[in-house]
Symmetry: D3
Subunit: 331 residues, 6 copies
């Protein structure tokens, strides 16, 4: 991966996330912890920590909150030269309440009129960004932000294809942003540019009305219907709010790839799917699907244990997890 | 419930609660989180959040701590016009240590000589408070506070009955406040004013020496012995300090009502019984015993997940819990 | 003031305020303290704490942040039955950075599309709210929020006048909300409903282009130009960011009223002007202009020492300040 | 000072102190910082840090709060073998609000029925404690706690005298504990056992009705009236709540001793007088009155800059202050 | 145990421990909680809290961090008169990350060149310390610190033996301090002074290459090979990072002692082994092996629930645990 | 400055800084705030925020603390590709206590054996780093770290000169790192590579024994003695620990440049001198000495108000300060 300008380029929003500490309800909080996160931002961070050279494309307001979001990308070694510090729009926010059984965790979005929702396809020189880059990743959240964001997503996907990038797409359906009908209508034309689809059974059912007898069949039918090279389906088991299981399977060329199932104690589950995407891309780009699945799952499992949207693991730690490190204190 | 002055009136102490953060022992703490709580105060808060128009009767010292306690009631929409800001007595305090298996959580009371322990029956115009009110709730903690508090409880119960209120009584035996003999002697004469008794098998055994072969029989015998319209028995299972099960049954007219059992991850279990009482009263007053049981259990289950004595749930959330909401993050 | 439904009604936005602790820049913050504040909200709180029976009219989103804002009003004893919990709009936010010389404190507003900016004149039954009420207070921030908010302000002022309320108006020019030309055009027609104008020399110069040789002349000319019964001008001296002086004068019937100047150590200066308004209204409504000025200044001085927008002083403390309490620790 | 069992023995209450962070009012606080303090406890701590071998006599409840108070004494190297861990009484508390000009700092005591207020003269074997000890120190707070505490104070003073201790007494009048008449009546008979009186002009006026034309005369008249060997008068100037001046003078044998005046920036002024007493005793016992005054003032000045009641300075630092260390960062 | 100077003397390092709050990775932390801990220090604290009269021998730098470590020992009632406040070396530090499944907790040591690593055998008058003392405890960490620390350990063990102390040794292998070969070479000659060996199966395998078919056989073979009077083997089961099981067995005179297995919810597992050692020594010295095992296990189980290295339990609580206290809140 | 690879390259250590919150003494702290700082690191950060393209050369351990330091540089937009993540050495730490008059702030260094102290001249390809770069900055701290660090500093200075960089040197004498004799001996040979010397009168007196009658003469004599193009002398006035004055003068070509004096309220004065250097270099490189002085002073003044070593100001804010912005809240 030496000669490439970037190993991976991602495109999407970064929100400032505000969460009450210690399981407080938002309504009762006296202070809020600050994190920065967003699907494609999280993917770039996790991939960068695994060693990929990453750029992240976005638009942020030119104010302290926008700078904070940009700084956090730079802090993780991500190229931010294509992040637009915009005079238009506001910083997207989200408020996150951590739950405990039987109270689920909850997100309150406050992201309308964000700078990136006002982005236009021509605001970014996509060929410049994506030429000589290895892969491009975006999720279904970005086109959901606004009509112009959807157009910009299409423009970016076309440029990625044109420039020979591996194109990865996380379906990531968000019911608070658009209806399933809107999501289907907007995203169906995008799928032809996609090589790797990352999704859940629930999301493909909701967005594409596609549901197999089991996840293997779902994956195969997705691959066939849209011509994806790879379909990865993540599988979460909700033992309780504080304890989940995590694994994923991948389908490619009619073959199903499987990996171990992790039991995770949940410090912060936001961004686990993004860590899967990053780990998968890292593993896939360096060694193929099997390693992709292993690194995706290990990265996702570790993410559950780390506060914030971001995966502060190292390549060494994720590799050790793949190889089976234990639960005993390391000293 | 439109014409009533109050749907529910409760009477009891509010303490300022001081608890070390993050499972620290009290002896090692460097700072303490502040909450306000107390059995009948908690009931009024939870009922008010479910939509009942509530008044809370109490006495507090006229100093910053007393004002803090009063403010917290007002914050939750409770009528505080019958709270006496008293020149006598101090603010009751309690210190709460959060445990982890095998160390149980612990309470250190520092509530003697509180303003409410000095209350006299004539300090409150009970007929004024309770006329045109739907229900009155008090627990076995209030009469345990002092002789004059016990007399005031009797006065209040009589006025409640006289004014046609549904009378609810949570037995709530507190060994640090009085002996079982004292509790029995004082409370037995109060029971004839009570319509709804809320209790545990352990407490009725300790206070009234009444123990059936199973909780159904206990409930039936309680109803028969004292003439209660409804007996609700709450049932907690201690899987560990951080994980419990919760349910309750109700007996009325010879019939036993049951509901699902919740498995709860415990952020703060104090006040769960009070949330049950509030949910039960809300459900019962609006739709009868079955809904009372469902709302009581759902409210109690949710309470375990919320820091502090108070139940910061909404009617919408409790209703969703009754209807079976899941554990997956809501976004 | 016994027979009145409310002694004081105020109308305006409450924002959730987020501020980095310990003089951090917003860009570097890891967590934010939460407060709730807003001009007319702050006035209602401070007046309520001084003993006036207050109602606050506003619109808030029906979500945890909106409830938080509403709760904080209730916590202070304010009647919130006229606060609209709206399905439209978002919760207004503002971010506050505390400075130190030579870095001034800074506010970053994020309040566009708030629920109150979407309010319509008919959303509130103003005659119902204001009949039998003693005074009505609004500031120049409310009409600046949106066209419909300006119309609603006019409707409210007319109803206040119609119902015989004393009408108080704090000019409070906010350059980030509108231009001086817009402010003048919108507010000039409102002034005829106003009895008491509270302002600074700087604001009347910016909004009305009216500037006397000194503040006494400015006050007199304002009173003459617009027919105000009373003009109060607040006077702040910036010794440093952490140390200011505060006083105010009032002009009425050609007479100038003066009071002592306070030197204040600044914990949080936001809301000092609102405390002045509340203290002035309390003193004026109970004893006339002189006491109004004294209580306004004492309340404003004390506000500088209290974190948050709100004035957690008591009537007893403000009275003691007027009477000259000292700086020595009280124990 | 080698042969002595203790260089200094003090006798008095230790309270658990609870204070809202960052200048919050108590009424608005969400958490409280914990410290332990009390006049004679503070003196023992500061003297121990200066190198005196100290014992502290007190009574505390045998619960986590009482143990916390005892631990903090041990942490500072104080002998706690004469602290009674009592089954009677509660832990004394006090709540401290930090002010800012013009709002003075405030203390809310919650210390009634503390274990030490229930102490009896015979609970301590005073001759055992005080034989072979160099000095004994108590303040006017201890006899104010209860009748039996006053009797115990008298018993202790007699034993101190009998065993040849230098006896130091800080007048420390607390209006919330007793009236000036009570203070005078109780303490006048105690004064004959006292060698060193530490006081302020205000306190001697209030307690003994003794006020000279200036502090030198006050000191001389005190020495004459009661036969004190040394009278030390501390002098605080309130420039503002955050900035004071501090110095003290001493009178002995008709001679007045003076020292430099410190200008202090106030982090926490509680315990400054106690630090003076400790520094004075250290300096006096090791080198005489002049050094006593210097070390007392330096220790008191430093105390203002340290959070909590206790003086976490070292002998090296206090010595450097006496010798004139500067304000520039040390690195 | 009356006549003894000390019931227990321990020798080893105390580190200042810095840990990110709330499961943060060290790399992402904004602040660190401070604790003080170290194997033999922890043993002395836990034993002191159980009522043994303990002294702790160590060397610390004469700076604020060294004083902090010393203070914490004094706070727990430990005799610190044999702690050397040294002009040489630095304060040992360690950074602790708390994990969650599947991420194990991790320790980053920063302890090289600590004051104790520079200790010389003659820096302590071992005969003075150990004469008339009941027991001496050291772990395999102390000789691993440096060559001179190993020599000092040998000197201490010889003096302990010479003075008739019961000698306890916790094998505590730390791979980051030395290799297994180094550990074996250094420690084998030390074993002949040891009466009680406390270890795990894993450590004896790594250090001595000794591994039985089961832990009973391992214990017996250890006892035989080295002539230990007692071998205690602690047994931890890793259900998850947040949930473990704990028990231990002891072998003595060919007999195996067993105790119940605790299931623990983990707040902080560091120091559990040290609590076992302390509880075992307490029980053994007062009542023999069986009680030693019971108190060791109960103390170790409780330690998992308490933040920091230290066991803030009381003798009463540990005794109650041995006798079977429950999980229900105590109030 | 377009064509250059870097506008500014700096070389030096970054330490992890640990400081007790709220003016606590280190010895009493329960938690520590984390910052990252170091002379040349701070200069790179402040210069980067002003718009210069900066690289920072250093060596850090390849562990979480080292990564934290590296991340913070990246977060501020600094090129970190020349930072060596080393297997050798530890992360340098320093502990900072914030003072209040009369207690000065204090630094406790724990930086020996840091990775950068083990650096060798050939570890960095200096010609690669410095070719096509505009300026090189180092301070007297770097050569003080170790002999090899001093050699590497010389190598770097030679390369800077060879590559035509403007060379800036901040004398920054640290008595805890070396003696004045060592500092003079090591640094005198370095001075011939220096264009801009930044210093204080005190430091040039201590290091070079050079002291003029006034700072103008000192500056002129320095320029003459060593052949500097520019000598900048910073001038701090200690009004108190919380209030200082700041200005600087520059001497060049026999001419003295002066600027306004700032009065600053001190949140955190560490790094003010580094901000001066950065502001001076920014202003000088873009517009000459006068603007250099203005930007240096404005940046330094602002730094005092910001927590941490780093200057989180923007170019816009520093420019506004130069142009005379006020102290009134900005909203």
């Amino acid at each position: 991966m030496k000669q490439k300008k970037y190993d991976l380029v991602t495109f999407g929003e970064a929100m400032v996330r505000l969460s009450p500490p210690h399981f407080q309800r938002l309504e009762q909080a006296n202070n809020l912890d600050i994190q920065v996160g967003g699907g494609e931002f999280n993917v770039a961070v996790a991939a960068s920590r695994l060693g990929l050279k990453c750029a992240w494309v976005s638009a942020l307001p030119d104010n302290p909150l926008g700078r904070m979001a940009r700084n956090k990308a730079a802090e993780q070694g991500i190229d931010i030269s294509h992040v637009i510090m915009s005079p238009k729009g506001r910083q997207g926010l989200y408020f996150l309440e951590f739950g405990a059984s039987p109270r689920a965790s909850q997100v309150l979005y406050d992201r309308s009129n964000s700078s990136i929702s006002l982005i236009q396809p021509t605001d970014v020189n996509w060929d410049n960004v994506l030429s000589y880059s290895g892969a491009f990743h975006v999720s279904g959240i970005t086109p959901a932000l606004s009509k112009s964001a959807a157009e910009t997503t299409l423009t970016a996907l076309q440029a990625a294809k044109r420039n020979g990038c591996v194109v990865s797409y996380d379906l990531n359906y968000r019911a608070k942003l658009w209806s399933t009908a809107e999501a289907q209508k907007c995203q169906t034309p995008l799928m032809k540019y996609v090589d790797i689809l990352i999704t859940t059974e629930e999301d493909t059912d909701r967005v594409f009305g596609l549901k197999g007898k089991n996840f293997e069949e779902t994956a195969r039918r997705l691959a066939e219907s849209f011509g994806f090279k790879i379909v990865a389906i993540t599988l979460r088991g909700d033992l309780s709010v504080w304890r989940n299981t995590w694994t994923a399977i991948a389908a490619s060329g009619g073959k199903i790839y499987r990996d171990r199932t992790y039991e995770v104690e949940i410090v912060d589950r936001v961004g686990a799917g993004d860590s899967f995407a990053a780990g998968f891309l890292y593993g896939y780009l360096t060694s193929g699907i099997k390693k992709g699945l292993q690194f995706g799952n290990a990265a996702a499992a570790l993410k559950h244990t780390i506060p914030g949207d971001l995966n502060w693991s190292t390549l060494q730690e994720v590799t050790a997890m793949v190889e089976g490190s234990g639960l005993r204190i390391v000293r």
